[in-house]
């Protein structure tokens, strides 16, 4: 496209058509390039322009202004090539596409009759944090951690409350359960389940330490685990199932003795609710099974955030998880429905959360996005709004180990560059 200064009348007409301003074509049919650039507001007050304009020519003047500007840049570029006396301070700003970087255009171009004032264009520079698609934002991870801690605490308190309401074994015998009919109780099975659980949690923790984007992944883990335990509080509390087996030895009830109850709560939190540590003496927390939740969730996270080639590792974890769940039932420690419901809730919540997090379209409220109707959509947006795209599986030694080891050996999968 030629420079505006060299435009003929028909070029001007074409330009007006392009800009969607055909109404001016008649009035400006004798106007060529330079005259177009000279148009001002006064011209629009007189006829014939005043007859065709609706907004006193404001829109057209703006377009002409843009035209002036781009034509100045082109002139500039051409002049630079010829090494004319324009080399007074135009620090190579004119780029091929006419855009301007952080800089000024000082005075000194009398030839073109263009706007002599300098124009400063500032490009807002984002802080380093926001420009990466996976910002770390440890603060949000901290919030998620507190949320998970709160949910654990609530669960422990609710278990303690529910324990008071569990009907005694003699009054309410264990409910009929299909699995219990088929398989008799095996005593040591529950220890296997707990050992598997601890192994899986340990593996997941180690894996998490080695992830590069551990703040984002940690945030997700804490949020999902917290929500699952919160749901568990609700289902445990509203209806109390009787003990699944006569072998249960529930602690005696402390009616109204708050001090003793809070001590019990502390003991349970300290032991993590495991019977190996001796803190699994309270009854009533059957629907749904927290052990199943941990086994399933750690396996899902391990599989999700580890390389696909490690299929043997995934298989081992899957076996640990499946055997653990089977052993819960074998030990007659939970009803079958507890385990089934727990598995269902965990998998659905995990997939739901991750699908939402991976699709930008699902992070906004719209009529087609029914996922936005869940009650935790607000916290979800808070956690995942700055994460753009799918978190890649990159690995990086944690900070302390990084400073200790030297970087002589190159690990192909470890990320060695700062980003």
């Amino acid at each position: 496209m030629k420079e505006v200064r060299l435009w003929t009348c028909s070029d001007v007409s074409d330009w007006l058509t392009d800009e969607g301003m055909q109404e001016y074509m008649d009035a400006l049919q004798n106007v060529d390039g330079p005259a177009l650039l000279k148009l001002s507001e006064e011209d629009f007050k007189a006829s014939p322009l005043s007859l065709v304009t609706g907004d006193s020519g404001r829109q057209l003047l703006e377009r002409i202004e843009t035209l002036r500007f781009t034509s100045h840049m082109k002139a500039h570029k051409n002049n630079n090539h010829e090494k004319s006396h324009h080399a007074n301070g135009h620090a190579g700003i004119a780029l091929a596409n006419g855009s301007v970087s952080n800089g000024k255009i000082p005075n000194g171009i009398p030839k073109n009759g263009l706007h002599p004032e300098p124009i400063r264009i500032l490009i807002p520079s984002l802080p380093e944090q926001e420009r990466t698609p996976y910002p770390t934002e440890w603060f949000k991870t901290g919030v998620a951690f507190l949320y998970a801690l709160f949910c654990f605490l609530t669960t422990t308190v609710v278990i303690s409350v529910v324990h008071e309401r569990v009907p005694p074994k003699e009054e309410s015998p264990p409910l009929p359960d299909k699995f219990f009919d088929l398989f008799d109780r095996v005593e040591w099975a529950f220890s296997i389940c707990e050992i598997n659980g601890m192994l899986l949690v340990g593996l997941w923790f180690t894996q998490w330490l080695l992830l590069k984007h551990r703040s984002i992944v940690g945030r997700r883990f804490f949020f999902i685990v917290g929500t699952l335990y919160l749901y568990r509080c609700v289902t445990m509390y509203v209806t109390t199932l009787p003990v699944p087996g006569m072998h249960f030895k529930c602690s005696p009830k402390l009616f109204g003795d708050w001090e003793a109850q809070s001590r019990r709560v502390m003991k349970m939190m300290a032991g993590g609710g495991l019977s190996i540590t001796g803190s699994h003496s309270l009854c009533g927390d059957y629907l749904y099974s927290g052990h199943t939740v941990m086994l399933t969730l750690t396996y899902l996270f391990i599989k999700e955030y580890s390389p696909r080639r490690f299929w043997w590792y995934h298989w081992i974890c899957w076996c640990l998880s499946a055997i653990g769940i089977f052993c819960i039932l074998l030990a007659h420690d939970h009803y079958t429905v507890d385990v089934v419901v727990a598995y269902y809730m965990t998998t659905r919540l995990f997939w739901w959360y991750h699908t939402m997090a991976n699709q930008q379209a699902l992070k906004e409220i719209s009529t087609g996005n029914l996922f936005s109707r869940v009650w935790w959509f607000g916290p979800f947006q808070y956690f995942e709004s700055n994460v753009r795209g799918i978190v890649p599986r990159n690995y990086q030694l944690p900070f302390l180990l990084r400073t200790m080891t030297s970087a002589r050996v190159k690990y192909s999968k470890l990320d060695s560059r700062e980003s």
């Binding site: 749901y231 209806t239 699709q359 379209a361 087609g368």
Partner: protein
């Protein structure tokens, strides 16, 4: 008008081509909440054409017909709806069989008293509450049925309803069977156990199916089907469907509110009548709403279906979903039509939106 003047002028002009009005359809990735009755909005844009195209724009051929994406992108495929219907029917029958089986396993009231339930502690039993639930349920089902009849894409929507209902009843079969809860309240009189009397059991199944499992029709005599509550499923599901497939304008919001109220009171009355444990109702609501949202999000977002990072397709029923929704490419718009096909009046007069081109043609 200047534009039409231009149109005739330009055709004889230089190589820059003529400007014309052309209606373009945009790619829609996000579903638009179109209120019922409006057409899809098309914005006219003027674009420059190439020289060769100018010749094609003779006086009588300068508007192009655009077909709305109703027939090609939302095919009816009634046979798929039929399959979904069979699936739902099969699951309903299986549920009744399972209830009959579970009835044998329910522990006696004296052996296993009702479990402690928080709601029951606070609210004593009201006898007529369950009839309220069932009446509400029947009203909601009737309203949904009428609304469904008037939907334009009733094949697709019907398919979805039957599939989801079937799935929910299937899950219910599983949870009912594996663990049997005792009766929630001492007022419940369960039908006596027929230990090996298969003939009697079959008669019971038929009685249950014909009565729809409602106590109003006298077919709600069997116990053991507590986790989770089928009544809650129906109330919630019909409400969700009513809300989803009707317009979102102000007047219609009153209708949604009314249906929501019916649904909520129905659910609360189940608990007031001590007919189900609280956990049954909570779990039923949760599973129904999540499954509904899951299915519809998958169905409404074509980009999601093609994406490799879509974890929603890890469910076991994903292949059924693909089968049912393979040819449905866009969200189902909320349009109504008469159940019996009448010719569309507006097809006779398509030129209303093309008045500018029409006048250009006539000049």
């Amino acid at each position: 008008m200047a534009a039409s003047h231009l149109l005739d002028d330009r055709e004889d002009d230089g190589p820059n081509g003529s400007c014309q009005v052309m209606v373009m359809m945009e790619e829609r990735t996000h579903p638009q909440a179109t209120p019922c009755g409006n057409q899809v909005d098309d914005k006219p844009k003027s674009t420059k054409r190439l020289q060769g195209f100018r010749k094609a724009l003779r006086k009588n051929q300068d508007y192009s017909r655009i077909s709305k994406p109703s027939s090609s992108q939302l095919p009816s495929e009634w046979w798929k709806t039929g399959i979904a219907f069979i699936w739902a029917g099969f699951n309903l029958v299986l549920t009744t069989v399972m209830i009959t089986v579970v009835n044998e396993r329910v522990p006696d009231k004296s052996v296993s008293p009702p479990l402690p339930d928080k709601f029951f502690d606070y609210i004593p039993r009201v006898e007529w509450a369950f009839s309220v639930t069932e009446v509400n349920g029947m009203i909601l089902v009737a309203l949904w049925f009428v609304q469904w009849l008037f939907l334009k894409h009733r094949a697709i929507v019907g398919r979805r309803f039957f599939f989801l209902q079937g799935m929910l009843y299937l899950y219910r079969i599983v949870t009912m069977y594996i663990t049997t809860l005792p009766v929630p309240s001492m007022h419940m009189d369960c039908a006596p156990k027929l230990y090996n009397d298969s003939h009697g059991k079959i008669k019971r199944v038929l009685q249950l199916v014909s009565g729809g499992g409602l106590s109003i029709t006298g077919s709600h005599l069997l116990c053991g089907d507590f986790l989770y509550s089928g009544h809650t499923v129906m109330l919630t599901l019909t409400f969700l469907f009513i809300q989803e497939y009707s317009p979102r304008s102000c007047k219609w919001r009153c209708y949604h509110g009314f249906c929501g109220l019916l649904s909520a009171t129905g659910v609360v009355c189940i608990l007031v009548a001590h007919e189900h444990y609280s956990v049954d109702v909570v779990v039923a609501y949760f599973i129904t709403s999540r499954l509904f949202y899951w299915y519809h999000t998958m169905a409404n977002n074509q980009a999601l279906r093609d994406s490799p990072h879509n974890y929603l397709n890890r469910t076991w029923w994903n292949w059924v979903f693909n089968f049912l929704e393979k040819n449905v490419k866009t969200p189902v718009p909320c349009t109504f039509s008469w159940p019996l096909s009448l010719p569309y009046v507006c097809f006779k007069n398509p030129c209303k939106s093309y008045s500018m081109v029409q006048s250009a043609r006539d000049e």
